[in-house]
């Protein structure tokens, strides 16, 4: 007998010691598992479902290809224990199919392996109990294949522990506990005492207050405890750490220097490492991780490489290969909270709040003030009723908030009372036109852009299920996009990033930086005929324009101009422009000035925000913008915060993501607040040609293949924002100075920095840390050396 433990969603995974499995080993396991299953057909089986019901029957079939484990078919099913809210209690037919995600456990009794002699050992048991019992069984059984017990005992902690008392390295927890058999038993319900007071009566209406599901949880524990219980705090950090010597004569100077270094450190990205980000004071969206993952649990996926492989491979592996392949319990994804209360309470937190003030104090007020007027003039929303309009505005206002929230809000807008379908569609179209993605777009956005149909919300079981975007809304916005080609990608982007946020445990980040980027992005939104950019007409070689172009893009000239315009007392400095304009010079139809705010505006903005005095180089921004199929994309918005993967992020070469106009990067500058870090070294100006290497790889996925990048061709893919590239290439942001062969690399840095100045952070910043670092120490100047 054995227990085939086909866990559903990681519920009953057994505990096995960690050992790394080579593909061969994994294959052996799989084979053995398959073999066991094949052998067990026709045996008596008991299936426990995730609802708690138990069915007994004869195992008729099992589908190894199931998405989420093992589909099981029982003949002559019989209900043994009824589960909670069991729906098919009354109607058991001749066969019963239990879907993989309902299967919590499958016990097979009386299994004969390798011969007729095996006496059925009745010992239904739990996961690793099986492991222990299998070998036992074979000893009673007649000659049987050794491989079968070997399979389980290999995984069996008990066996492992016994075999290696301590000789083979340091013992793990399970080695010590011996993985004793713990029976899966009926739990004994807790019952409230008689006469308990009514406040906790679960049926009372007031009971609402007795669960932890309120949306808002902010309260001041110190004042409440002081008021109610008279508790005052006496904390002083000098209980724990050293005192600062403030007496030295050079204290002020040291203070300044320390501040400078501190700013520098905290200004850098965190290379996607959440703990690094934490210590650098970067707010990270750790929605994919709870504090157990962060501070207490040990990640069972092993080291970084392994984990990233597993994480990335998950959607497909889980979907297809999951069932086919034997996955050792330790490597199965850890079960996360399936606790409805937690889900609902955390969900409640995300309910859109009309005034996002206290939740996101970092959102600058100007976001709202800017975003709204920007939307108004072009409000073509005629049919949609007032309500929808309001909702849309609401959505816009929240653009700095979680994508998830926005989707939700959108869904709400959808379900708004009595809005006819057409109006909805119209509203959505309108929304799609106006909508800007105001924050980083995750690097695998490209993938998702391609398959917006399917929103695989279940990708990551680590996350609480979130309300799905209603298919309708997705549909509608896609319709919108097909008609208004300009809108397609933005709305697509919305979905995709939402997806991504769910998929990647590191999550993404939206905060002040991105919000700001988004809002200023609106300032240079123009009505653009998408497709007209490179559309049918070939760019003409126009001498006059070239003249303008050359002038407008000459950093030195523009810097001079800017300098003259400014107070002349300031020393003349040329900033480092982090990237070059597009190299095709003659496709420009309009002066950049028509597309971008004039220098004064940019100045004012940047000064006001950053109190940095230079900004001039940006004035000479190229007038380029839309991608081939026209993606207004609000490059600033996305790039502003150093989009990983970029809008076109993933120029997934199917053109869907034409998101790749050359100047997302430019936009990025402005978007991020028009702030250029002070960089007096003009040599970093990459010029026109060196830009080549910035081109995104075709697959837009990972790996900087930029060194061999193709010459910039307008109708080819787009540019990867180099920041993103660097990010992926450089997991630590520290010493690994990135890729020096990658001239464009430096550009990633500043963008990221800008983002970070605003407290932004994102995986995409990974590279930037390094860049930043390079200013302080010579260790890791990848960008600069390039």
């Amino acid at each position: 007998m054995t227990t085939v433990n086909a866990t559903g969603k990681g519920g009953a995974s057994s505990a096995a010691p960690a050992f790394k499995e080579t593909p061969e080993v994994a294959k052996k396991f799989k084979d053995r598992f398959d073999y066991l299953l094949a052998e067990s057909l026709g045996s008596k089986a008991t299936v426990t479902t995730t609802k708690g019901a138990k069915y007994k029957g004869v195992l008729a079939a099992a589908n190894l290809e199931a998405n989420d484990g093992l589909d099981v078919v029982l003949k002559a099913p019989e209900l043994v224990v009824a589960g909670s809210n069991d729906e098919n209690a009354g109607k058991l037919g001749e066969t019963l199919l239990v879907h993989a995600n309902d299967v919590a456990q499958l016990d097979i009794t009386g299994l004969k392996i390798g011969g007729p002699a095996a006496a059925p050992v009745k010992k239904p048991s739990y996961a690793a109990a099986a492991a222990a019992s299998v070998p036992k069984k074979t000893s009673t059984a007649a000659p049987s294949k050794k491989s079968v017990p070997a399979k389980k005992s290999a995984a069996a902690p008990a066996a492992a522990a016994a075999a290696t008392p301590s000789g083979n390295g340091f013992r793990t927890d399970v080695d010590i506990s011996g993985g004793k058999n713990v029976r899966q038993r009926e739990l004994q319900r807790w019952t409230p005492d008689e006469g308990d007071d009514a406040a906790f009566d679960p049926n009372a209406q007031a009971n609402q207050g007795q669960t932890l599901e309120e949306a808002s949880s902010t309260w001041d524990q110190f004042s409440v405890n002081e008021k109610k219980f008279g508790i005052k705090s006496t904390y002083d950090e000098h209980f724990y750490t050293t005192k600062i010597n403030k007496s030295g004569p050079d204290y002020q100077q040291r203070l300044k220097e320390a501040q400078r270094i501190a700013d520098e450190i905290e200004g850098q990205g965190a290379a996607g490492n959440i703990h690094l980000a934490e210590d650098r004071g970067i707010t990270v969206d750790d929605s994919g991780m709870d504090e157990e993952d962060l501070y207490s649990g040990v990640d069972r996926r092993g080291d970084e490489l392994l984990a990233s492989l597993k994480t990335n491979a998950k959607p497909s592996a889980d979907a297809k290969g999951g069932a086919k392949k034997y996955v050792p319990p330790t490597l199965r994804n850890q079960p996360h909270h399936m606790d409805p209360a937690i889900i609902s309470s955390s969900g409640a937190k995300n309910v859109p709040v009309p005034t996002p003030a206290h939740k996101q104090p970092q959102v600058p007020a100007q976001t709202q003030t800017q975003a709204q007027p920007a939307g108004k003039p072009r409000a073509t929303l005629k049919n949609a009723d007032e309500e929808t309009k309001k909702q849309l505005k609401e959505i816009k206002r929240q653009s700095g908030r979680g994508e998830h929230d926005r989707i939700k809000a959108k869904a709400q807008a959808q379900s708004g009372p009595k809005v006819s379908k057409e109006e909805q569609i119209e509203a959505l179209k309108n929304f799609a036109q106006k909508f800007k993605v105001p924050y980083d777009v995750p690097n695998d956005m490209g993938n998702v852009l391609r398959k917006t149909n399917n929103v695989p919300l279940k990708d990551d079981p680590s996350l609480p299920p979130k309300p799905k975007v209603s298919a309708q809304s997705a549909q509608a916005s896609r319709n919108g996009s097909s008609k208004h080609s300009s809108s397609g990608n933005t709305s697509g982007g919305t979905h995709s990033s939402n997806n991504d946020a769910k998929r990647s445990p590191q999550g993404q980040q939206h905060n002040g930086a991105s919000t700001r980027g988004g809002s200023s992005g609106t300032t240079h939104t123009r009505k653009r005929q998408t497709g007209s950019f490179f559309g049918s007409k070939k760019p003409l070689n126009n001498g006059a324009k070239r003249e303008t172009f050359n002038k407008g893009f000459n950093v030195f000239l523009k810097a001079k101009e800017a300098h003259d315009a400014e107070d002349s007392m300031a020393p003349f400095l040329i900033e480092k422009p982090y990237f070059a304009a597009p190299t095709w010079t003659s496709t420009v139809e309009k002066s950049h000035k028509t597309l971008f705010p004039d220098i004064q505006t940019v100045f004012q903005e940047s000064q006001a925000r950053m109190q940095m005095r230079q900004m001039s180089a940006m004035g000479g921004m190229p007038p380029v913008n839309m991608g081939p199929n026209g993606m207004p994309q609000f490059p600033g918005a996305m790039m502003g915060a150093g989009v990983p993967g970029g809008p076109g992020g993933a120029p997934n070469s199917n053109g869907a993501a034409g998101a790749t106009s050359p100047n997302p990067m430019m936009g990025g500058f402005q978007g991020a607040g028009g702030y250029m870090p002070f960089q007096p070294q003009p040599m970093f100006y990459p010029g026109m040609n060196p830009m080549g290497p910035m081109m995104g790889g075709k697959d837009g996925s990972v790996g900087p293949n930029g060194s061999t990048s193709p010459p910039p061709m307008p109708d080819q893919m787009g540019y990867m924002p180099p920041g993103a590239y660097m990010g992926m290439g450089d997991p630590y942001g520290y010493p690994m100075g990135g890729m020096p062969q990658f001239p464009g690399a430096m550009m990633g840095g500043p963008q990221g920095m800008m983002g970070n100045e605003h407290g932004g952070s994102h995986r995409g910043y990974q590279g930037h840390g390094g860049h930043r670092g390079s200013r302080g120490s010579s260790k890791n100047s990848h960008g600069h050396r390039a």
Binding site: A15, P17, F19, A104, Y126, A127, F170, V174, I176, S177, V182, R183, Q188, R189, W190, D193, E194, G195, D196, A199, T211, L212, S217, W219, N225, K228, F229, I231, K232, T234, Y235, D236, E237, F239, Y240, T241, T242, R254, I261, I265, H275, E278, D279, R280, D290, E292, Y295, S296, V298, D299, R300, G302, D339, I342, S345, S346, Y732, Y734, G776, S777
Partner: protein
């Protein structure tokens, strides 16, 4: 009591001069008593250090200390595991202090821990034990003013305690010069070698001298750390004192409830249990805050802490809870590891954790240093499998909660001398002899706790909002008692070490068995 201690002389004058704190007379388990019988003097430690050790209230090394200290002093790498709360911290702090030379103004030891609170706590242990060693110990963690830390590093720092992210930043810029740091310590090593931390750690290691000594400690090692061992440790001396994972002194129960009953159940527990101090764990930050609010609404003083709070507030909460000012702490897994609060005798898992190591560390917040404690898990339907899984990984079976819980399982008869850690700075101006009438069991101040305990079987006539009692501040002598505590009683010690003629009303002469 302290004066009695002083009368005891060990033929050496210096010992007579020490301010040895009042002993913790609570019963202890074999987890900390099963030693070979060495004394701290046997380790040939320097006098200054021994003074600090005794003044901290240590009398005799615990098993892990007995194993680790002599080996660590010889300079060998150590990979050690020992149960929660059995003295691991001192097991690496003592050799650290022994090896650091106060006259060399360089960072000579680096201690890394996963959380900021733990860094504070560890630093305090270093300062307490090294009180006479003239060693300066600095904490550097995220969430604090980086500028200040940079300034601090321009003065002499011998021991640097912190979290990896900040240390990496300081080290990589040479602000913290680790080139002479020959001792590298990781507490909670399994977590530190978990994925995200590991990358940082490995970068930090590049700044240390090549032949540094490494000490790795934890109570759990769910995964093999062999890779790291092979790569970074040199012939590590492995210490494994665990034949089982769970502490002997902790009794574990589950209460199988529906989600919406949890609060009700908790309230019942509050009314029935005799809680010194309790830590309640929730699985999300939102729930932490909500639950803490509910608990204050129910009339119990309660702080909460989680990682999304400002560090200043976190420190405040941590500090005050350690001082025993608040009876209940609701927190996330931020405080799951390492936090040592002697007075905690009840841990409640309001939400059940995902992993066995988290579970083990959580329940290890009670039953510190071999004392008795209670762990209660509220389990809902969805947690069942996790319960089984964790039971299995830990090799223990958790029983259903009985209607009444025997007090002897978790309540010491005499709580008077449960040590409250006293900030080291404060002890300097507490030069007057200990003044016993101030010794407060922080917990006894709140009638709502002791009252129900007096009638434990009574069916919890607890009103939802017994505000009437709470309206008046309950008269904690705020700010008063720390100065009066004489020596800080940081980790407590075993009773058996004291000579019988010391005049203690001591019922156990040798390693006593837990009373259950």
């Amino acid at each position: 009591m302290a004066t009695q201690d002083n009368s005891y002389t060990d033929s050496s004058d210096w010992k007579a001069q020490l301010n040895i704190p009042k002993r913790d007379t609570r019963p202890q388990t074999e987890d900390v008593l099963g030693t070979k019988g060495n004394t701290f003097e046997d380790f040939r430690l320097k006098r200054d250090l021994l003074m600090g050790i005794f003044e901290a209230g240590f009398e005799k090394p615990s098993p892990i200390q007995e194993e680790a200290i002599p080996v660590a002093v010889t300079g060998r790498d150590i990979l050690a595991r020992a149960k929660n709360g059995t003295g691991k911290t001192a097991a690496f702090v003592i050799p650290t202090l022994e090896k650091v030379k106060p006259k060399v103004n360089k960072i000579q030891a680096l201690i890394m821990v996963p959380t900021r609170e733990l860094a504070l706590q560890t630093s305090q242990v270093v300062r307490t034990l090294g009180k006479h060693c003239k060693i300066s110990c600095m904490v550097t963690t995220g969430g604090t003013n980086l500028r200040d830390d940079i300034l601090r590093l321009s003065d002499a720092v011998h021991v640097l305690v912190g979290t990896p992210g900040r240390i990496l930043d300081l080290a990589s810029r040479k602000i913290a010069d680790l080139s002479s740091c020959s001792l590298f310590v990781m507490d909670e090593a399994d977590k530190m070698l978990s994925r995200d931390f590991k990358t940082i750690i490995e970068q930090i290691l590049t700044f240390l001298p090549k032949n540094h000594q490494s000490l790795l400690f934890s109570a759990t090692f769910p995964l093999s750390v062999k890779d790291f061992m092979v790569k970074h440790l040199h012939k590590p001396y492995e210490i494994n004192l665990m034949e089982e994972l769970t502490l002997k002194g902790i009794t574990q129960y589950y209460a199988f409830v529906e989600e919406r009953q949890k609060l009700h159940c908790l309230n019942t527990l509050f009314s029935k249990l005799q809680i010194n101090q309790a830590i309640i764990f929730c699985n999300s930050t939102n729930r932490v805050e909500l639950l803490a609010k509910k608990i204050t609404d129910l009339g119990f003083s309660c702080y909460y802490s989680h990682a999304r709070m400002k560090q200043q507030e976190r420190n405040k909460v941590f500090h005050e809870f350690r001082q025993g000012k608040v009876r209940t702490l609701v927190c996330s897994d931020l405080l799951t590891r390492g936090i040592d609060i002697q007075a905690v005798n009840v841990v409640i898992n309001f939400d059940f954790p995902k992993t066995a190591e988290t579970y083990l560390h959580r329940i290890g917040r009670s039953g510190r240093f071999g004392h008795l404690g209670l762990a209660i898990n509220l389990i809902n339907w969805n947690d069942r499998f996790n319960l089984y899984k964790i039971e299995q990984e830990l090799g223990t079976e958790i029983a259903a909660i009985p209607p009444t819980i025997d007090k002897s399982l978790y309540v010491a008869e005499n709580n008077e001398n449960v040590p409250v850690p006293v900030p080291i700075e404060q002890q300097h101006f507490a030069q007057t002899p200990a003044n016993n009438n101030i010794v407060i069991p922080p917990q006894q101040q709140f009638p709502q706790f002791s009252q129900p305990a007096a009638e434990p079987a009574a069916a919890a006539p607890q009103q939802a909002v017994p505000q009437a009692q709470q309206g008046v501040p309950q008269g904690m002598p705020q700010g008063q008692y720390p100065p009066q505590f004489q020596g800080q009683q940081y980790p407590p010690q075993m009773q058996m070490q004291m000579p019988p003629q010391g005049g203690y009303p001591q019922q156990m002469g040798g390693p006593q068995q837990p009373q259950y």
